[in-house]
Symmetry: C2
Subunit: 479 residues, 2 copies
């Protein structure tokens, strides 16, 4: 490795940026706050896309594409929506060499333009539900940006569904939350908490926002996906009604939901180490790299043996072969470790003599000699072991860093300058003022109100206000 | 069918829009010149995307993502580029509630932003070639728009490659042209002419532009894809040099190439008929629709038999079953014809008794009774026959409507008010003034200078100028 990755213990945020830049996942661009997603970073996003896209289609959703530009006036129609997004808008004022009569905004999210179309498309209950998703770029003018986590432009999917009843729209909202959780845990190997957001943290225009929240290695929370029950707010704003089965006119019910390229940042921060990226096998663009070690005199033999080795692999295993020996074996191993490939196959002269290879796990560094005959099965099970191992390690880490706080002293100690941080479970009276005081004191906010927390709150007291608790909330400092 | 599709003979352009709107492929949006791509249209685009993406990756290309916004100053750096694109730019002047110090343009194409990054990424011959593609939205402010064919915003892929030598960049340019031709002919079933553009028709900033040109059913030409050899123009504009193997500093060579959602328009106009869409099987989202014909009394039996029929199909055949019998069989057949599904399987009580079904070809209307035992094989071969049949019909049509013109009278007669139109092959002296005169007289332009046309021109005379011909060009009126 030519360049050094800052160790996490030295600076977690430098470590994060070093990995992105050195693994060539992304780069800074000449456009303020926008990044370039380089091929290696985009390959990870493509695997996220194709996996989620399949999950959405398997549950009846279809893709479509709506305009990038939105008439400014549309944003203004939903009171909370404009309040939330107005400060972050990018505005197009000129087109084709002329000043526009009405300015357009670059979409920060597409509820308004999509509901203006739903008005045209929905007349009767027979037109419902509409289950549409869009893969798109969006833009929110951010003052402080960080590669993948918060950029002025980002890529995402946004689902926008329309339903005849509140119950159906709520069911959809939770169905998607469930897909997000499954995707985060089973593919990204990131355990997530799920639940509702408090009113102060919900989406501008939603009735209820649900989220998946993950813990990063610095013990901060990262909101990794949100699913909103929008009630009839956007149907009202765009006058979208339908004739129900009794011939009566009702407003349509809605959900919207999204995950973004922020997930790439979450993936890096959840699993990687001081040697570079650590990718879970199910999301890794390459799951296996074969590295033949040879000199000029044995090049042909070793490469022929490498071909034999690679032919043993299950055809479904995504693999590559590194035949460039212009650097030392140690340098090459470190390079592929930095890129996060889950399994390295080392193939040297002695391995060839013994009809074996050495497998090296990226996540633990464990070296596993395997006979050629056993390779296929061993690699297949090893990839599963790594996937599970990475998830379990993250789950253990979260468990170790989640604290039940009975007193506010316990809580403030967690988030003190030299405190351990992490997730705190604490009763809350439901008052936004209490929430605001906690944030002012500690910078910790309510990440989620987990399912079932209201029952858990019964008989408990909010240690901040001394009032009866209505919720048991999960607090953390967050990205 | 509730609504009527305007017959082609009555108005080709109304017919085109009727199909798009009634098949719900796209819709007009409240944003001037932008369209909404509805799920049925987007499904066609997704199949185009996945097919092309595979072809690009199989030839060593990788995907990445660059910013939507481009500093206005970048566009100004390449003289021809700014001249070509300045009139079509959308400009962002405000962000985050403040006026920007320097305005950004919404990308009309990404050469400038990408070459500003290539300057950071390319130092040595070891960094070359760079073979990067981007799937993105772009924006060109158009005065006259038409769904899919010309819209202010459209979706496309844009490849941007960097090479150490002119020869390599030219080879890449032609390799991609070849991929575009193969895709158009083998998947879209649209025969295309390939060749170079004349100087007046080339991309703003290119040394040479190559194109694939297709004939629509109204005998006009449609440019369906372009591949540009950019020489060192953008390397000069962004000062992108590399150290070659001899340690000398050289400017980098470039290509760029793209196809867009315009291809969906081409697909519609090339094959469809007065009953609606006609889709080639290899690009159709559904290749087969099974339509059971039943009443309440035999519903269970017929649907059970339908299950048996569908199980016979090859698992690779994309199919759907229409079990909604609230309309008459005739209405349902017409509906699926309008949607362009290549093969309809009609399943009625008599079919069930005889252990057979009736296949109906969308392209010819031919009805083919098939025994259940023969269904799998028959459907597989039928899909191939339809794919080939559609292509051959389009090829015959182009051949019937391509005319070799020895005199300018022959030529002008083709493009007279009541002339037949089509493609004209005519010698050209290579003078832009001759080309401009022809355009002024007839509205026909040079679509391509086919490969080998210069040899063919030897000894011939340009019938317009009377001067010796340098080329034999293909002319047509175009979209
Ligand atoms: Zn504790
Ligand atoms: Zn003729």
């Amino acid at each position: 490795m030519a360049e050094r990755i800052t160790p996490r213990a030295e600076s977690y945020s430098d470590w994060y940026i070093d990995i992105i830049v050195q693994a060539k996942l992304a780069d800074y661009s000449p456009v303020k706050g926008s990044m370039v997603i380089r091929p290696r970073g985009y390959a990870i996003w493509e695997r996220m896309q194709s996996t989620l896209d399949r999950m959405f289609k398997d549950t009846g959703h279809v893709n479509a594409y709506f305009p990038l530009l939105i008439p400014m006036e549309f944003i203004n129609r939903e009171a909370e929506h404009v309040e939330g997004f107005a400060p972050e808008l990018a505005v197009v004022t000129h087109g084709g060499g002329e000043e526009l009569e009405e300015p357009y905004v670059v979409r920060p999210t597409s509820e308004t333009i999509i509901w203006s179309m739903y008005k045209k498309w929905i007349q009767s209950y027979r037109d419902l539900p509409l289950l549409i998703n869009q893969w798109a770029n969006v833009m929110r003018w951010e003052k402080r940006t960080r590669l993948f986590l918060r950029t002025t432009e980002f890529l995402w999917q946004e689902g926008h569904t329309a339903h005849a009843t509140a119950a159906e729209a709520e069911e959809e909202t939770l169905k998607i939350l469930n897909i997000y959780q499954k995707f985060a845990e089973e593919y990204l190997a990131i355990p997530v908490l799920t639940g509702k957001k408090s009113a102060s943290e919900k989406f501008a225009g939603a009735v209820d926002t649900y989220a998946i929240e993950a813990m990063m290695q610095d013990r901060k929370a990262l909101q990794a996906g949100t699913s909103h029950f929008l009630g009839q707010n956007f149907a009202k704003a765009f006058d979208v009604t339908f004739q129900d089965q009794n011939g009566e006119l009702d407003l349509v019910w809605a959900s919207s939901w999204g995950v973004s390229t922020r997930l790439v940042g979450a993936l890096i921060m959840a699993h990687s180490d001081d040697n570079g990226l650590v990718l879970p096998p199910r999301i890794a663009p390459y799951q296996v790299v074969a590295i033949p070690i040879f000199r000029d005199k044995n090049k042909e033999e070793i490469l022929a043996y490498t071909d034999k080795v690679v032919e043993q692999l299950d055809p479904s295993v995504r693999h590559t072969v590194d035949t460039d020996n212009s650097n030392s074996p140690g340098w090459r191993f470190a390079e592929w470790e930095m890129l996060g490939v889950p399994v390295r196959i080392e193939i040297g002269p002695r391995d060839m003599q013994n009809s074996q290879v050495v497998l090296v796990r990226r996540d633990t560094g464990e070296k596993i000699p395997v006979a050629l005959d056993d390779l296929r099965e061993r690699v297949n099970t090893l990839l599963q072991e790594i996937q599970t191992g990475i998830f379990q390690r993250a789950l253990q880490f979260r468990s170790d860093n989640t604290h039940v706080c009975e007193t506010y002293d316990q809580f403030t100690a967690l988030y003190a300058e030299d405190g351990p941080g992490g997730f705190a479970e604490m009763p809350w009276d439901g008052d936004p003022e209490t929430e605001a005081r906690i944030k002012a004191d500690t910078k910790a906010t309510i990440r989620v109100l987990p399912f079932g927390n209201e029952e858990k709150a019964q008989g408990k007291t909010d240690p901040v206000s001394g009032k009866p608790a209505r919720y048991v909330a999960i607090f953390a400092k967050s990205y």
